[in-house]
Symmetry: C2
Subunit: 492 residues, 2 copies
Amino acid sequence: MAKLKELTSSEENYSQWYNDLVVKADMAENSAVRGCMIIKPYGYAIWEKMQHALDNMFKETGHVNAYFPLFIPKSFLSREAEHVEGFAKECAVVTHYRLKANPDGDGVIVDPAAKLEEELIVRPTSETIIWNTYKNWIQSYRDLPILCNQWANVVRWEMRTRLFLRTAEFLWQEGHTAHATETEAIAEARKMLDVYADFAENFMAIPVIKGIKTASERFAGAVDTFCIEAMMQDGKALQAGTSHFLGQNFAKAFDVQFVNRENTLDYVWATSWGVSTRLIGALIMVHSDDNGLVLPPKLAPYQVVIIPIFKSNEQLAEISEKVAVIKTKLKELGISVKYDDSDNKKPGWKFAEYELKGVPVRLALGGRDLENGTVEVMRRDTLEKLTLPLDGIDGYIVNLLKEIQQNIFQKALNFRASVTREVNSYAEFKEEIEKGGFLSAHWDGTSETEERIKAETKATIRCIPFDGDKTAGVCMVTGKPSAQRVLFARSY
Amino acid sequence: MAKLKELTSSEENYSQWYNDLVVKADMAENSAVRGCMIIKPYGYAIWEKMQHALDNMFKETGHVNAYFPLFIPKSFLSREAEHVEGFAKECAVVTHYRLKANPDGDGVIVDPAAKLEEELIVRPTSETIIWNTYKNWIQSYRDLPILCNQWANVVRWEMRTRLFLRTAEFLWQEGHTAHATETEAIAEARKMLDVYADFAENFMAIPVIKGIKTASERFAGAVDTFCIEAMMQDGKALQAGTSHFLGQNFAKAFDVQFVNRENTLDYVWATSWGVSTRLIGALIMVHSDDNGLVLPPKLAPYQVVIIPIFKSNEQLAEISEKVAVIKTKLKELGISVKYDDSDNKKPGWKFAEYELKGVPVRLALGGRDLENGTVEVMRRDTLEKLTLPLDGIDGYIVNLLKEIQQNIFQKALNFRASVTREVNSYAEFKEEIEKGGFLSAHWDGTSETEERIKAETKATIRCIPFDGDKTAGVCMVTGKPSAQRVLFARSY
């Protein structure tokens, strides 16, 4: 098939394939500002669908949205000892609040008289400003729990950026909850991890492994970081979401105490959890192929595209009449449809274009179909084509969309299974890690061993899986005792 | 009635009444960062409803959402001569991208080695970065129109801030469209003004006057600024939304040319349009009273609150059973309901609380209601109470919500009519402006006269109304010819 916009093949150069795809499918592009991306309408439409589904899930689990300031006073970052280590490094610092005309030439310059007394940091995450606020909201256990989420932009001054996967500015949601007891806070952090896993598997069609991070991979300031880990088609893992049990660390840093049920003063227990536009990168890498995007029907900006194949305006009018009926029926069933009857592009060009954009189902109607009362149906995931009676096509499509959603999940699950294996010696590990995928191995639980493995193999412990093999063993590197296998991979 | 949280009366001190109300009704509060507010869950829920309604209207008029960078390179602001005058003054300037541990003491300091080559400005509005992007999206008339909107935060370093009305950071949407012809761009700008007016009147229940700004009140970089103006209960006007016809100014500044239908090169025509969280300030000021918020049913976080009045747990159980039935019926009708059966607050406290929060309809059910099969219904706008049969109450509420929506709009319309008058001499103007409201008067069309009136009376020309009296006359100040009356007011 004629392809207007040739993609680099993913086997040849996976990284280039990814970049080509993001740009050519009109998902995103780099901006004039280093590391900041522009999310184009097609990419943003996917993000809106993700937001909508997640926001519903958050609300169903009792959360409300709020909005906290973009800026964080510099001193706030230093309050929590570990947090500052993790976040007060590469960040955007606002030092002035005014520009003025350049007295020596063109344009504007920073007005030196408008220097801030205390610099402001563009939020890399909002624990500090939020816990400084919660201090005023919480006096008694009756004020708890607080279950807030915010949809926001954040900035981390990354040196090496890649569209969606790692950008200086990105969009995300960050939940920040406050609780009266440790048990309740841990339950909340676990609950939200389950929400993320549910979303990843049932909307994004991406199977994920739930687990806990090792100390060295933990969020800066957390007691425990829970995560969901996904496997990309190139054999590298991607952390798709994290949920943190923060203990009383931020309550102590910002002096947030409350009168508990026993009428004594205690520090508040906290969680935070977030997913970001990075998920779009995962979505692309898990499902797409050398023809372009493959989108799960539940997140596709439009689920069905209809393309007329016509030789005259009269024929187009006839086709459009049939299409109007199908469109109405599909819309009544809650299915989004685009009818592309533009006359300045050939059908072959359109076919390639909508394959590139990952539209789950394509219908094509031509002269012969008019005669026979048929329609050609193509499914993007398998590229299979069928000619079917027009009559009843709406019901067929409803089922087909479900099938595609299920099929791409199963395909990703099979792929992950095929690249996940147990290894029992470090020599085997070093050989196997070159092939990518998840390696399940014994580890002695120390940061030293973890660090050595990372330095020697570029693999990290993605998580200690909740549902993994719990049999004890010995560390593949040191031979010391290991409580259970953990999951290693190279990762994004 | 017992009121837990006493408000300052609006007659006594309107400004204090407003601030009290915003804080006590849990809408928003000031943060630790000067001029930046925290939008609390109740306030944010209203913003979400506003976003939802507006976003649907934008999509119905063919617009798509996208996302552009938070940061703007300093030099971009200087490209459009007038734009830089308006926006490159009070703004947040990012000069560094790293902090480091303080070698001389605690905390972190800005790393002097991490100075940006070119400073970045936190966007005060996005015309420049967007037109720099559109340059790459537009080659031919076939690429037009581009109809993008973004939901985003922006920062303008205001010296005197007020919750919602004027804050350093605020949330808004900004539409940025690109067109092949002047006519089409003007039509777009006017269309979006109509969308805003429709939203203000039919969702916010705020009557607005559509018109055009004078040159001195124009958006920096626009050829024409269209606006909707609303009247607050203290007699001051508030600009509720603007839509700008930008001509070819930004296309020329960023060299965005296209091949038109005549196959010649031309600059692209532009519009931009926006409304912000400022609208929440207008919503509060137009409808609320000394008992608290009055919210239009279409934007209320919950439209109905139900309060049980009980003497025992048995009685509460009986009431809750009845309430469950009403709740289900109302939810099926698309009405949002909160049932407050908390036992640590007395009914009187709850009554005051939900009045303060402006819940449009309150139902109360007590022992006598159980016996008689009745329910007490209170409408927030008039505070009228009625006892009605429980049977059929759902249908009654559907109509009541419509009536409240209509009634508060009518009330605001009547108020505006009562404070809008024609004046025919400058002496009369000076006297009348002290009483507030809109004054319709003749003006000679010069910035000098406008400036003089502003300096002497603090009144500005809110707009030249589209539908105003078009009879010619003479300027009240200079006696020079005037093409039509314009609308003056003191404003927020």
